[in-house]
Amino acid sequence: MKNIIEKILKIDRRLIFLALTILLVFPIVRPLGLPNKNIGNEVKALYEKIESLPAGSFIMLSLDYDPATRPELHPQAVAVVKHALRKDLRVMILTLNAGATGLIDEIGERIPKDIAPAKKYGTDYVILPYQPNPVAIMTQMGMDLYQIYDKDRDGAPLREMPVMKGIRNVKDMQLGMCITGTALLDYWVAYTGDKFKMPFAGGTTAVSQIGYAPYLQTGQLKGLIGGMKGAADYELLINAKEKGTAGLDALSLAHIMVIGLIVVANIMMFWLKYL
């Protein structure tokens, strides 16, 4: 028995990689539709916040993620944009991360196709160009955002667009949200949320989610979407299942495998040590 256990413990790790690959690929080829019965309170809080906003309210979305974190954060952004436009809110999308511009273009192309075909660019939503120096942008947006963003992504004058009617700075906006895998959410909370008393929410990778719990407790964040699970929760709340929900099958299987490996390896180590 001892020899068998020692052999198993020295198994080629590439076999574990292979098993993990199979478990992650299988639900992509054949979706299992495992249920998601635990919606996070912080996700629900964001959903309720957006639900409570009257039609015509203005939301600023800072999508500050790049392709490296796309699988976790892109479904969050798509779900929030979809929810906001469904609720007839006005949406302004911007980015302070140069790597995000291509992904924002993708959302821009999807809005008239399948996210909200009835909504019109310039009237219901607008996309701003990338700008460097986040702290300067955030502080300036508290005073006069047209000093920074005088034109939209395509070079059209921003001030003249119907979507910007009555908006001069972040104090005129009803909600701000930053979706990012970087520390930019901290900056938004400090330089815009706290400084200008703007209600703010966030979307982060699962890795950084825990670190934002103190901001939720103090109310500095009105809601938080964390990782692919958070995206799946939000998709479930707005009843629009997409990539986040599709990923949950794979995540559940992979987690079962990891838990199984940890338990089996510990039992084996215990056996070798004490029996």
């Binding site: 690929v25 992509i28 490296a68 140069a98 502080t139 670190g211 692919m228 995540l251």
Partner: protein, 244 residues
């Protein structure tokens, strides 16, 4: 048929498989992709800054509106590049001085407010009640756990007093709170990494479609073939073979 879309699919599938191939064995495809990643990333950032910031914010105001004031931040920014030329590198101090002064002035007061004062306030807030009722008892218990954790973790990081007696006990409790945090953070990290891996597999599946001329299948088969050939090419001869 959109050629650029198909080509994009082949490049994306190829680069993903080349990077994953390292899990089996180091190889030249992985090395080439690793270098390409850095170059492509920098290229993307450069063109974004050039077309979305530099041209509309500097070039057009200067050439079309004759606004010379944009030269002040531009020159200050350019002084940072003088770091690469030792003879005039002293000029970069002006740019850095501006960044340091402006950055510190913004960051210090807001960090104290957001990350220190508000968090202390948040820890105390649950106890700001006139009386204990059934409605707020859970909130009070929750607040007490957070406050105990907060104080004990602070003790753990307080090195000016020797950790013995009551201080040691508090510090040890702090370790348990830290372990809980690390456990939760590690669990979330695992979930995050799986999500990223799932994202790549999802894209590989997409590129395996006939629309992309089976890019994933073909590149994967080529890589497997490469490893088989490489295995026989670099195989050390056995003792019998050497003797023969």
């Amino acid at each position: 048929m959109d050629i650029s879309l198909i080509l994009g699919g082949w490049v994306a599938a190829g680069l993903t498989i080349f990077l994953f191939s390292f899990l089996y064995k180091d190889n030249p495809f992985f090395k080439a992709t690793e270098h390409l990643y850095l170059g492509a990333g920098m290229g993307w950032v450069f063109q974004t800054v050039l077309f979305q910031t530099w041209i509309p914010k500097v070039w057009e105001p200067l050439t079309k509106q004759g606004d010379w004031t944009v030269l002040i931040p531009t020159v200050l920014g350019l002084t940072l590049v003088t770091q690469f030329f030792p003879r005039i590198s002293w000029l970069s101090r002006y740019g850095f001085t501006f960044i340091m002064g402006y950055g510190s002035g913004l960051v210090i007061p807001l960090t104290i407010s957001t990350d220190l004062l508000k968090q202390i306030g948040g820890t105390m807030a649950p106890f700001m009640v006139s009386e204990v009722t059934r409605g707020n008892i859970l909130s009070l218990v929750n607040g007490a756990i957070i406050a105990v954790g907060f104080i004990c973790v602070l003790f753990y990081f307080f090195f000016s007093v020797e950790h013995k007696g009551a201080v040691k006990k508090a510090s040890n409790i702090g370790i348990y709170f830290l372990m809980l945090y690390f456990g939760a953070a590690f669990g979330n990290t695992v979930m995050g990494r799986f999500s990223l891996l799932y994202g790549r597999f999802d894209d590989l599946y997409k590129y395996s479609a006939p629309k992309y001329f089976y890019a994933t299948h073909i590149i994967l088969a080529v890589m497997v073939l490469y490893f088989i050939v490489d295995h026989f090419r670099t195989r050390k001869p056995s003792i019998e073979e050497e003797a023969a």
